[in-house]
Homo-oligomer: 138 residues x 2
Amino acid sequence: MTTQEQHPVIPEGYTDLLGTTALIHVATLGPNGEPQSTPVWFDWDGEHVKFSQTKTRQKYRNVQRDPRIALSLVDPEDPYRYLEIRGEVTKIEDDPDLDFINAMAKKYLGMDEYPYHQPGDERVVVYVEPHHTTQMGA
Amino acid sequence: MTTQEQHPVIPEGYTDLLGTTALIHVATLGPNGEPQSTPVWFDWDGEHVKFSQTKTRQKYRNVQRDPRIALSLVDPEDPYRYLEIRGEVTKIEDDPDLDFINAMAKKYLGMDEYPYHQPGDERVVVYVEPHHTTQMGA
């Protein structure tokens, strides 16, 4: 499936949001089941929302403990249009050569390499499978 | 406490974010403890983040069932600066005369009255007490 094709869960008319440079706010569950929320850069491959994470971050530990996740993003051109995606983390992939985080730096910063990489940071790619959405706007 | 004073939980240098017209992404827990996330208009009174809700919305039922909540917002002027507030819903107040939602319409739309009110909508004001924050940026 390419990014252009309609995904069965994403409502028609909202797929374009997944091609924007909006930040996506990621809600995960902390160690006591409490909600946590952080904005991140994201990519959409037509089947999964993907985002980068270092192994030391709490979000990484959260989704390993409980893969349930919610993502919300707002149209950068229209603050009254948003999409929420609820789903599950189905895969976490190592990013040893920083291919994914560098692609995100390209998308969001126009740079070939992610400029904030720290020696020792172990990066992964988190894959989210959409199960359900809510939305507002036309 | 006024909105200008420093709050013990909000880090110095981030209070200004609470005066912006950013949307705040609200993470709550659904009926099975799963995360849900939605962007909303918000107000900061110096002690609580407040947002409007109708009684029929799932977020309203969520915070009555489990008051734990997380909020994240990004500086509209600087996408690399954000604040996450974790806390608890400590009060839900009726808004029978729509004073609060109208004040939000003033803040976000520059209008005296909220233009999307539907007859029968029962509005409440949700109060969030901050317990802990995470942040990025300077």
